[in-house]
């Protein structure tokens, strides 16, 4: 902290809150970076919340004379409750949350305030960019979430509604709890991080809730924090982390969606959770043992041995049920004070159908469910399906389809050319991309697309992600089995439009 700079009364006071649990070595480094912040020292206080560490954290770091206070908790109350406690104990205007294994850039706070000052009214929370220790990897560079509350530290871009990567002041669904700035009163009034989450996804829930309550969250990509890693969670075995992930994403869905949407999305979330539980079991059991007409059973016990990572999904259900009364209280409170509709928030989520389990079977199951339960119907207005068109550069027909669809869907028109430099432009309401096969940009667009239309003359090998994106193969495109020239009739366009509205499985649209 910069003790030499005298502060004006207009300099906002900040409390840097660092929750920690048995991580003294890294915490010391973290605190050194905080002390080096370029911010008037009399406007910064540092609060370390010790979640019951047994490694002497308190004695090592508690130094009020140096501006570092340690709040000592009897036991590990979790990341969320630790942050809340730190915020509650402070009297500063703003709280900056920082992971105990992260190093803040000296300009960290200043950059976040700059972004805040340049933003629209109602902005109460700023996200930092988080880099790996060596600065080579970007750990947090925007935010998105699937429909079921599973957040990702990346934004979606390349589409007409978000053509560019997020920049200073871009709205984000949430800020990483590992490095963010938030107006303290707003944070507390909104209920802070949900302590019942204990850890994981509490930042997704908070960001989402802030938007619901009428606040805004923005990005300050030049406010940089380096994350050393070795976080607390990885010391627990995977099945315990899964239990938290799964129950917390359900909790996020339960709390934040509007009535009507919530119930249907919860049904979808549960059916997909059960699917994940089965997929995570792998070949631990023989499916045919459960068919009525199946072969005689070799397993004469009533028991199956399942991987704990599979059972964890159901342990999450039990945990979720035990959280339910509290979550519903929260839900009633949030919904009663809702300012923004789901429809306004969905665009911030960006990747509604991002599968949260690897493999085509899951991806297809989730698409099928979206169509069967008509979850697409809930999202069509807020965030219509993203349509990727793969075609040759001079395919007039594909261009016409793109123009026609662009009124209803965000459309990216991609031509793949070996060795091509990445180009893009906006025309007719859709983005045009020229991409090299196998490029990261192509992969990103394919992953983000909800529906892909493959036209004749589209060339280049398609990345494997392609397989999991519902695809309509048009006319005599590769894989369609149709040969000869094509001319799409208006009925074909309707079929394509219908496919884009409810993409589930790959299909062929043969010109009529």
């Amino acid at each position: 902290m910069n003790g030499n700079v005298s502060s004006g009364t207009d300099v906002r006071s900040v409390s840097v809150v660092i929750p920690t649990y048995n991580n003294l070595g890294l915490l010391r480094e973290c605190l050194r970076s905080v002390r080096a912040l370029d911010y008037p020292s009399d406007r910064v206080e540092v609060t370390v919340v010790d979640n019951g560490s047994g490694d002497g954290t308190y004695r090592a770091v508690h130094a009020p004379e140096l501006g570092v206070r340690c709040v000592r908790l009897e036991q590990n109350t979790g990341f969320a409750a630790g942050c809340n406690r730190g915020a509650a104990e402070s009297s500063a205007d703003f709280v900056a949350f920082l992971n105990d294994d992260a190093l803040a850039d000296p300009q960290w706070l200043n950059r976040m305030f700059e972004a805040l000052d340049g933003s629209e009214a109602g902005t109460m929370c700023v996200a930092s960019r988080i880099l790996s220790r060596d600065g080579k990897e970007i750990e947090f560079n925007g935010a998105s979430s699937n429909l079921f509350g599973v957040g990702r530290p990346r934004s979606v871009w390349g589409w007409p509604d978000a053509a560019q990567p997020p920049t200073k002041g871009s709205p984000l669904l949430f800020a990483s709890g590992g490095a963010m700035l938030i107006h303290r009163r707003t944070f507390l009034d909104a209920g802070g991080f949900d302590p019942s989450f204990f850890a994981y996804f509490e930042d997704v829930d908070l960001g989402w809730r802030l938007w619901v309550l009428g606040h805004r969250v923005i990005y300050a990509p030049d406010a940089v924090v380096r994350h050393i890693g070795g976080s607390t969670g990885t010391r627990q075995p995977a099945h315990r982390r899964y239990t938290l992930w799964e129950s917390n994403s359900l909790a996020t869905v339960l709390k934040n969606y509007e009535s009507g949407n919530m119930e249907r999305l919860l049904s979808g979330a549960l059916l997909l959770l059960y699917k994940r539980a089965l997929l995570a079991a792998g070949d631990a059991f023989d499916r045919t043992d459960y068919n009525l007409g199946g072969p005689r059973d070799e397993n004469t016990t009533n028991v199956e041995r399942l991987p704990r990572v599979s059972v964890a999904h159901l342990a999450a259900i039990d945990r979720f049920n035990s959280m339910l009364p509290r979550l519903m209280d929260e839900r009633r409170r949030i919904q009663a004070t809702r300012v923004r509709s789901d429809r306004e928030i969905l665009p911030l989520m960006g990747r509604l159908w991002e599968p949260q389990f690897a493999g085509s079977e899951y991806a297809q199951a989730s698409r099928q469910l979206a169509a069967s339960l008509d979850l697409y119907g809930l999202t069509a207005e807020g965030l219509p399906n993203r349509v990727l068109i793969l075609a040759g550069p001079s395919d007039v027909e594909a261009g016409q389809v793109a123009s026609a669809l662009a009124a209803d869907f965000p459309v990216a028109f991609v031509t793949v050319e070996t060795g091509a430099a990445h180009t893009w432009s906006i025309a007719d309401g859709y983005t045009r991309h020229g991409l090299a096969p196998g490029s990261a940009e192509l992969g990103a667009l394919l992953r983000q697309a909800d529906a892909a239309l493959v036209f004749p003359d589209s060339t280049g090998a398609l990345p494997t992600e392609f397989l999991d994106t519902p695809t309509a193969v048009i006319g005599n495109a590769p894989g369609s089995g149709v040969s000869g020239a094509t001319h799409l009739a208006s009925s074909d366009l309707e079929a394509i439009r219908l496919f884009c509205r409810k993409p589930s499985t790959t299909r062929v649209v043969a010109p009529s």
Binding site: L270, E304, P307, A312, L314
Partner: protein, 1023 residues
Amino acid sequence: MNHPPDYMPPGTPQAPQAENIQPPQPADALSSSPKSAIRNPNSQIPPVSVVVLNYNGLRHLETCFTSLMSLDYPKDRLELMLVDNGSSDGSLEFMRERFPTVRLVETGSNLGFAAGNNYGAERATGEYVAFLNNDTRVEPNWLAELVNSLLAGEEQGVVCTSSLMLDWEGKKIDFYSGSVNFHGFGFQPSYGLPVDAVHPEHRELLFACGGSMLIRREVFLQVGGFDPDYFAFFEDVDLGWRLWLLGHRITLTPTAVTYHRHHGTATDVGNHRWQVIYERNALYTIYKNYEQANLDKMLSAALLLLGQRVVRFMELGGVQLGDYDFTRPRTTQKAEPATDNVHRNAVATLLAADEFRATIDKMTPKREWIQANRKRTDEELFARFGQPGRVHLLNHDADAPYSAAHHALLHEFGIEQLWDGQPKDVLLISPDVLPVGDIPASGSGIRAWALGKGLESRGHKVRFTMPRAAIQGRESQVPPEYVRGAWTPETLQSMVDALAPEVIVSCGWPNLTWLPRANLPVALDLTGPHLLERIYQDHLDARTNAEEKLAALERADFFTCISERQRYYFTGWLAQAGVHPDEIGTALQVIPYSLDPEQPQHVWPDDWAGEEVRFVYGGIFLPWQNPAPALLAVASTLQEQGRGRLEVIGGKHPFHAVHTGGFGPLVDQLGKMSSVHMSGLLPHDALVEQYTRAHVAVDVMQPNAERQLAYPSRTVHYMWCGLPVIHAAFSEVAGVIREYEAGWIVRHDDPDGLRAVVTSILADPSEARRRGENAARLARERFTWDLTVDALDRFVRDPYIRSARMSRTARRDDRAASRDPSRHVTAGGITSGDGLGTNMPQAARKLQAVHDRRRTVPAQVKARANELLRTVKGAVGAPLGVQLQLPELVAGHSLGQRFYVGENGLSGVRVQVETFGRKNTSRLFLRLRANPGAPVDLFHIEIPTHNLSQGQMLALRFPPIPDSSGRSFYFVAESPDGVSGDAISLKGDVRPGDLRAQRYDDGIPASGYLVMSLEYNGVTGER
């Protein structure tokens, strides 16, 4: 309805009976209506096809078709069909040979129950089609009764009617009634009850049993028949639900009797295979049938509950949820196993959900058709469900947490509001004789009756049951349905299982001792403090009594008591029983002692001239009540005045073996006085008759702990009969008597005051009438059950299971189980010896989870509490033991103890730290080894000592050792960097306490003991 065997509630020979039960009707009597008397207004006998579906059921065919050949139905109007689902057992050949007139229809392959029956119906020629399971036989008039029933109801829209199904011997009910809960599970209420326990009446049903029913063929086909995608199970529920939605009606024809041989088909395949279909079909049913406004909410709740069932099946297989708790600190370096055993029904249930997901598209067009054509709202349907909020219980140990989750979900999702106002099925367990027969009822019986009647006045369906012992030998004086429906400690649980009420109301806590399953919401009425009663009744010693009482309180969710004073009294008990102090305010409510809103008419003389003023005292003589000084004062005053008389109506308790205490001498004394008229206990009606003709009641007891807390039912009863009461000032009811001027309040220790009151009444008896009329008004306004039942009604309407009670009940069960090795935990529905592969009682596993979740009380707090306890006990001269000073733990030394373990599931060793009042910096290692010579640790933990406080408990916790019982282990503490002056020690004691142990210093046996306690299955072993 077909069910896999898992879901059959256990049949109970002594099962209870419903209210309004008629005398036994043998099955024959049911089928004694005129033969073949088709009562068709057009005197047209309609053609009927009987479809018997068969899949490798050769062994059933002879019996089934022999009975069908004997049907009293015109042969030219009857088409008997066997629809064969691809049998390979020679069924067809047999039929051709043996029953050549029966039409054979071959489906070619096993289409399942639903599609097979549809196939038959499509090909049938009758105007009506009857579906009959092949493992049945029917009465000769079966078909004529069904047809008559439909013809009679056709104008009202009845298109389908169900047969009454009995077991093969005709002794027990199989299908009498069909109900469904909100997530699509069908039930057969009354299943397994004796035939004479229900009076089969013609009535409407949500669905007809698919195993024996008649339906208009045209309608059946038009609505789509049984849903072929079901294959089997719940297709009849779905059909019934759909028929109602589309505007039709369904009835039961109790005079059409079918006998059902059990599980002719279903037992041949593993239950887990059926589980897939069963669970999936329930989801299909709700997905298709709910209106759009309800569908999403219902489906999400159903899916959450499905997940809960999976969780419970996983636990049954051996999963400990605590292993999945992120917040649980890791105490060992030992790698955790990567797998867990789960019951196969867990996998099956997940597969069901996934099959549902994958096939929703098949259901959607059906859903759209039904919704487009529906004629009735969901709300109208809920009224037909029977028990929309019923828990899908499997009657095994995992039920209780499942049931709790079910109720919590209904509440939180606001689902119960959808059928708000719909009555609940309540079982009311009385501890004593109910006022229903010609034998005297006690106050607690009347109390129970009042609560039940109050609930009935709010529309609930209440079944009353009283103890068999209470009516033993006097059965003829009690209506037979109450005799059949009486409970015994041995049968109470199975009675509850069979009746499956939605809520239990237990009057008095001892009843709950006999309900170990604890899987339904329980309201417990706490009548009277029972301080002295239990003692006088020669029950257990006070401490055991208290433990029993606490255990019973822990099993209930909602509590009522009779008065404000008792509310304060029971607040303490509830706090002890683990009800959170913040919750007691809502969990414990006052319902005054209450009586019928139809009050008896008091008879007052028009003219007091020549009328003797009649004072009365009535009720059971109980040793903890002393009315003697007051009664003697009244009697002697009357004697002195030479006017009026005192009637004493009473005697010893009719049921409980309670001596009469001081009443014997009192009765002797009173008997000698000419102003006194004595008579024995009277039945309720006769007693009321006496009261309505008396003029003044006397209820002035000497105070004791019991009386001061009591809210005397006797006095309420007097006032209800229109009697003014002379009552003692110390009693709580005195206030309201004053307020209404419903009597006279005297001090119990002021005989002169009492005499003065008696004298004044004699002087002006009309004052008795005025006050008596006030008393009647008071009773109506404050003590009638339709007005007082509010709080209980609210609970019954939206019942719940306290989450806290699951853990406590489990702990007690677990302790009982772990003490008694002969007690095996059996899981109903899960066959024993199914290789669950665990020694750990289910209750312990449940508890583990709960305990893990709740491990929030810091060890320091507990240690501090223990220390305080020690101090307190020390102060009153009862030291727990003499402390033994043990040496400082410095490098190279160790403190150890070999100890014997008497129970399975050892999961922790706790010792107490001695810091010598210093801050220490050394590290402390706690290790568990097989024996002192063992070179390796079974488990160990490293504890930094700088934060330790004096007396703190240190725990070495580890996964439960399933077979620890009967083995010894060695515990040792070391501090490798401890230096003298900066090291800690452990607490020692010269006495072993509960332990069987040998202490070691540096591996060498030493005298004294380490203070140590053991944990089992994650549970602290402190008792």
